[in-house]
Structure formats: C-alpha cells, structure tokens
Subunit: 287 residues, 2 copies
C-alpha cells in the first residue's frame, strides 16, 4: 500500500493548519478525521479571539475551515484511527480493518473529554477494543459491554449487538435509539474493568460487578496514549518539546492533546509549527 | 503613573493575538507598536496558510487584523520601546522620554533582520544609544555615528544632526533624504564598535577606523536581548518554555522572536498561549 509523507490524525484546527502547510509544501499526506471537521468548533457559541476573523459563531468558523481546505484541494479521509504502530522508519495506522502507512505522524486528536476507566489501557487487546469492525467477530455469541460516546457511532454498537449473545450498553449521549432484546441498558456508569489475563467483568458505580467477555469503547476521540502505547504523557497530555516532537521518532503532536490553553488559535499555531517540524524530519530522513 | 497588568511589546500577529485575549479577559494592557501593525505582514505578497482565511494578500490580512482589534476596542500605543527594566514585581518600560509600568511583559518584537554589531550590546549606555530623544542632548557639539534602518526614523537622525558637530551617517534603506553640511555618509558598512570604558570609534568594512563619541542605532525593531539585558537567548532567539515563559519572572515572549518557523499562524497561536500564561502569572501574584 502507498506510504505517504505524513499522517495527520485529527481534523480540528491543529490538523487543518498542519494539512494546509503540507499541501503548500507538496507533501503527500492523509488528514484523518470527520466530515464535520471539528465537533468542538462546530458547537462553540461564539469565538472572538481568532485574529483577523472578528466575532464569529463556531459553526461559521468551522464552515470557513471547510471552505479553505476545500479550495486548497484537501480532502478529509473519514476514518477512525484506532491504533498507530511505529515500524522503525515508518508508521502503520489502523482504522477498523483498513491500514495506512506514513513516514511521519502528527497527532492532533484533541482532548478526550472522558477520562480512561481504570483497567481500560491495561486490558487493551485483551478484551478491551476500540474497533467494532476489527474485533466484533471475536465476540460472536459472547457477552460484551459497549460504551458509546456519540450518536453517529451507535450504528457500530448495533453491529455488535447483532453478533453478541448479550450486550450491556452504556450510551453517553442523549436520544440513544439502539433497541434489541438481548441488549440491556446499564443504569449505573462503569467505573472499572476487571480481569486477570483478560477482561472478565465490569464494575459499575452502584458496586455491581457484571461478568463480560469483552468491552467495546466506541469513542469519538481516543487518547493518544492508547493509540500509541509507548507515547510519553505529561499530566494527561502528550509530552512535546518546543518543536512539537514527542518521544517517538517521527511522531509529532499539536493542539489540545498537547495541553492548555484549549483554544482554537493556539491549535492553529501549533498546527503550523508541527508541520514545519515534520518537514524538517522528513528532509533529515532524505524523504 | 498608572501600572497596567500587561505590556505587550510589538503589534505583529503575536502581539495582536495576545491583546485580543487580554481585552476579552478584561486585563489592563498596553499594545506597543506601529500604526501599521506589522510591516512584515503588510509586505507579504500572498498568504495561504492562515486557516479559515483562504488565500489573501499581506496588506489585506493586515487590514483585517486592524479591523478586528479596532472592533474589539483595542488601540495601539505608538511608542518605540527602547528599554525594559525588571523592578522586582513589576517592569518599567522606556520609550524615548516616556516611561510606562506593567506587572508583566509580553515580548512580541519579531525578528531583527540586522544582526547586532560587535560591541553594540557591550557599549549600550556607554556611548551606544537607541533613542535620539533620550540621549541626543548628551552629544551636543560632539561627533557621532548614526545608523538608521528605516525611512520614518530618519527624522530622528535629522534631529541628531541638529545637535552634533559631526555626524557619520549610514542609512540602511533606499531614498534617504537627510542632507546637512556636517553630515557625512559612510560608503562602507560599520562592522564593529570600538572603545574601552566608552565608545571611542567605529570600524568600517574597508578597515578604516573613525573616531566618534557615540553611536545611535535608529532601528525599527530592537533585539529583545538589548531591551532586557538579562534575558536568556538561544541561537539568537528568546529562550522560552512551552508556556512562553522566559528566564525573567513575569516576562513572556511569543512569535518570531522565539524562533522558527517565522509564520503568521505560528505567531497567532503563540500570542494566544502567551496571553494565558500571563493571566496565570497575574493570578498567582494576586493581580
């Protein structure tokens, strides 16, 4: 499969800013994200501190971002990256059952609004999954818990419900529509994932333990620490230097995932810096 | 005299971005700079990588910056800061004969395009001056060299020529108009400032030494290292951490003066970060 110069993971302000620079500099790249670019920008009521823009609604700003990248000839690859694997001098990125390859990676995933559960990171790959398409088949006829934090991904929960014998379902958004006989909604939040070698149960806030074979998280944004297990974090954020380099060679990060202030303008600026850092890295690697 | 929360030194993208945030957060501040905001932006032919803006000329972008800060009720204090003095828990800023006071400082001075001369920093205050109005009187009837890097400041060179007995003049721009009997234009650039306790001569590139009592630099942008003599620099840039803090308590920096990439979007982002860092500092100081 084709290997691009840069994989940009996230289509918010930092990802867009990086992509514009990559396009201008004629780099090959993926901009992984959503058709809506950034839900967080979209939902902002009013933004007054993006210089030269004036006072604007989030929805309108998001639309201007879309117009700008569209005019620049950039398309968003609408895939949910669920794992990133350093392969020496390049990276493999997994999105459900598709894989992608890039010489460098820019993490622009935003901040996860939901803290990882106890046990979530520990049991990843041993009963915890972020990918219905990849791992659903492993749970045919089994009992699973499914936590979904956004309406568009409920379709994946429905897919899982079609495979599993029993589903404990916890939607974290309004107006969930999933309905099946063997699908039981949890009335109490999950606080911990239990197990020994593999997941064996979930613990709910009401102190009830429920035996399960696996736990699926259908999340809009996955913590970079989960995407890339060897990534150094600092107080919940990706640890970066002034050039937005992480501890992993060829892997950079920008925007909210690197820390406060959680501000659009900050992310735009870091998207610019990180792109130039990636260009310098690629040049150094003679790419 | 009134002491404000923040003195922002420089009205380019970083300074503007910081000022917008300071205004939104109801901080008192000065935005020191030029009526034109940023000559560098103004002169850019085309800019394509400021997200949500599309492809735009520098002049038009500069105009949009002006419109945005104007609508936000921000005015530029059109003063040339020539020295910044840490006074313990506040700063004194000197602009010709005016002084200003602030609890914190944001350096957004841009990059100096002319490297400091050998001897320039060493003899500052001992024969080297950046301020015709402040120090001109000290050189009545004496011999001075005047280096001016921009046409609008030639008026200050003319003022000095009116005081000194002899002026060696080196304009670094086209169409210099200063003309006086005792004003001699140098045909060779100055490479070094010589002296012992004080300035005694300049050395020109043609290896000629010329005896002078003082040297005036009339510069559009003064290196932060000269403005604040204890400031830590790193390869010609202000050394900052991820929160844009310098080594001097209460003094922050953003934009081109902190290093590459020299990009408008990078400066806008750092202007956002630096403002929030200053707010945190002020809160910590109970201000």
């Amino acid at each position: 499969m084709e290997r691009v110069d840069i994989a940009i993971v996230g289509s918010g302000p930092a990802g867009i800013s990086a992509a514009l620079n990559a396009q201008i500099r004629h780099k090959s790249f993926y901009l992984f994200g959503s058709g809506n670019l950034s839900d967080k920008v979209q939902r902002s009521e009013q933004i007054a501190n993006v210089p030269a823009i004036g006072v604007i609604s989030g929805a309108e700003l998001n639309e201007r971002f879309a117009k700008h990248i569209d005019e620049a000839g950039i398309t968003v690859t609408q895939k949910h990256i669920t794992g990133i694997y350093p392969m020496g001098d390049y990276f493999a990125l997994l999105a459900n059952q598709d894989d992608f390859y890039a010489n460098s990676v820019i993490l622009a995933t935003g901040v996860e609004t939901i803290k990882p559960l106890r046990g979530e990171r520990e049991f990843l790959g041993r009963g915890v999954s972020y990918c219905a398409t990849c791992d659903g088949n492993l749970y045919q006829g089994k009992t699973i818990a499914v936590i979904c934090d956004n309406a568009p991904m409920e379709e994946e929960a429905a897919y899982l419900a079609g495979l599993a014998q029993k589903v404990y379902y916890l939607p974290l958004f309004q107006n969930s529509k999933l309905d099946a006989d063997h699908c039981e909604r949890l009335s109490s939040p999950i606080v911990e994932i239990l197990g020994d070698q593999r997941v064996s149960a979930i613990r709910c806030k009401d102190e009830q333990n429920i035996a399960v074979d696996g736990v699926f998280f259908l999340k809009h944004s996955i913590s970079p620490a989960v995407l890339l297990t060897d990534l150094n974090m600092e107080q919940g954020h990706v640890a970066v230097d002034r050039h937005m380099a992480t501890n992993i060679k060829g892997c950079f990060a920008a925007g909210d995932c690197t820390g406060t202030p959680y501000q659009i303008t900050k992310s735009l600026g870091e998207g610019n810096i990180v792109a130039h850092a990636a260009f310098a890295y690629l040049a150094q690697q003679n790419r």
